[in-house]
């Protein structure tokens, strides 16, 4: 394969922009993974509400955002909202859109872990005199989060991969910069191969970190 020297030259030349793009990718991924987790815990809490209306609305939220393609949501907010006089920066559109979407998925993962809990433990907590919120905070959440580490990790990986769609709303993240590099010298294969390897490396870091977390939070004597 030829063209390597010119590719490396262009790569080095554009490296500051590519690294800045990588920084934008990581910033978006880390931020939405955290806000999505917090949002997911909040939505999950509402699915356990004692008020039927709240439970129904929360289920509706989860169904709506799981059913809605992320790109449609981002376009709706980025291109649609200005028509109503509301203009938001690409970064904040991405953060808000991802958070709404990821919170719905995370809440669904936490709910399925909750369904596997021993309900007698929750009854025991209620019978000890703990309030609804205390049962959630002291018994439900610590167990459900532990059980959900693999699913939540997958979601973090998806967040990283899905961050590539943010360039469609003018958020210049890593993939957008790699596209620019490819367009500079028409070395599409090399540019996208490099992009793929960077994403794989980042995913590997997430997987290794998640394994360490999983090992750390495993409950002794509980085998799954």
């Amino acid at each position: 394969m030829n063209g390597w020297p010119s590719f490396w030259r262009d790569l080095l030349e554009q490296m500051p922009l590519i690294l800045a793009g990588l920084g934008q990718t990581l910033q978006l991924t880390v931020l939405v993974s955290m806000t999505g987790l917090l949002g997911g815990v909040g939505v999950f809490y509402l699915t356990l509400s004692r008020q039927r209306l709240v439970r129904r609305c929360t289920q509706g939220y989860i169904s709506f955002f799981i059913g809605m393609p992320l790109i449609v949501l981002l376009f709706l907010m980025y291109y649609g909202l200005p028509q109503w006089g509301l203009r938001v920066s690409p970064f904040w559109v991405a953060v808000l859109g991802f958070t709404l979407n990821v919170a719905a998925y995370n809440a669904a993962y936490l709910t399925s872990a909750y369904n596997g809990l021993d309900q007698a433990e929750l009854e025991a907590a209620r019978s000890q005199g703990f309030s609804h919120r205390q049962v959630f905070g002291l018994v439900t959440l610590p167990q459900v989060l532990r059980l959900s580490v693999p699913a939540l990790t997958n979601q973090a990986i998806l967040n990283l991969k899905d961050s590539t769609v943010a360039f469609l709303i003018q958020y210049t993240e890593f993939f957008a910069r790699m596209q620019e590099l490819a367009a500079t010298n028409f070395q599409f294969f090399k540019a996208y191969l490099l992009a793929a390897m960077v994403y794989l490396a980042l995913v590997s870091v997430i997987v290794l970190a998640a394994r360490a977390v999983e090992k750390r939070v495993a409950i002794p004597g509980v085998h799954r």
Binding site: D118, A120, E121, E123, A124, A125, R126, S127, Q128, G129, F130, S131, Q134, L138, V139, P142, Q143, R146, I219, P220, G221, V222, H223
Partner: protein
């Protein structure tokens, strides 16, 4: 004996989807006493226990706890529950907490004790039940009998007015069941008020002189096991106790 019993249940009814699980239960439990409730599966034993601390809301009837009616609205249900130590059939220990954590959780979060104080009290209870050396183990690392003791320590640590045991031997082998009986007798000797629902006739016989027989949601008899199995006029009662003693 004091005039008012610690727990007084009158005409207690509980219906689930129109089906009467409790059909007018009357029951008294005096302070320092032990009450054993027996009956076939589905007779309403567990529902009765759950009505006492309002894990299940009764349909009608009254429950007086320390002389106060506790079934109506405006009752501090959480305070009521803290006064009733509940030991569940499958022990229901919090699996993500150590043995010590299981006992201290209520002391810290409900009683507001500091960690050191809570641990001191929890260790006292665990030691009383021979479980102090297992303080750092998790529920998944101890046996059924040990779990039972931790569940009991968790209940006792809150200084409840009464300890309620739901089928305490159903998940244990005969040797451990005998140990539980000894333990219950010891607690009774220490003036702990106890209420126990069970299928286990051996257990019933060894912890109480008299048992309450609950069937189809009503108390059908209250007498010694010997009399209930031999010459009770109600054939249902004789059948239940006869069958149980035959096995």
């Amino acid at each position: 004996m004091t005039a008012t019993p610690l727990i007084q249940v009158r005409d207690l009814v509980k219906e689930f989807d129109g089906q009467r699980v409790l059909a007018g239960v009357n029951l008294d439990l005096a302070e320092g006493d032990i009450k054993v409730v027996m009956g076939p599966s589905g007779c309403g034993k567990s529902t009765l226990l759950r009505c006492l601390n309002r894990l299940v809301e009764p349909t009608s009837g009254t429950i007086h706890f320390r002389g106060q009616e506790v079934t109506g609205p405006g009752v501090d249900v959480r305070a009521l529950r803290q006064g009733i130590g509940f030991v569940f059939q499958q022990f229901a220990l919090y699996r993500h907490l150590t043995v010590l954590g299981n006992v201290t959780l209520g002391l810290r979060k409900l009683r507001g004790l500091r960690r050191a104080e809570a641990e001191q009290k929890a260790l006292h209870e665990l030691d009383r039940l021979g479980m102090a050396e297992h303080r750092d183990k998790y529920p998944g690392q101890i046996s059924g009998g040990q779990k039972q003791r931790v569940a009991l320590a968790r209940a006792l640590a809150m200084d409840p007015a009464v300890v309620v045991l739901d089928e305490p031997t159903s998940a244990l082998d005969p040797v451990l069941s005998r140990e539980v009986a000894q333990l219950i007798r010891r607690l009774h000797d220490e003036k702990v008020t106890l209420m126990c629902v069970t299928h286990d006739l051996q257990l019933a016989r060894s912890i109480a002189d008299q048992v309450v027989f609950l069937d189809r949601g009503v108390v059908r008899a209250e007498d010694s096991v010997a009399r209930l199995s031999a010459d009770h006029p109600d054939p249902q009662v004789r059948a239940f106790f006869g069958r149980e003693t035959g096995t």
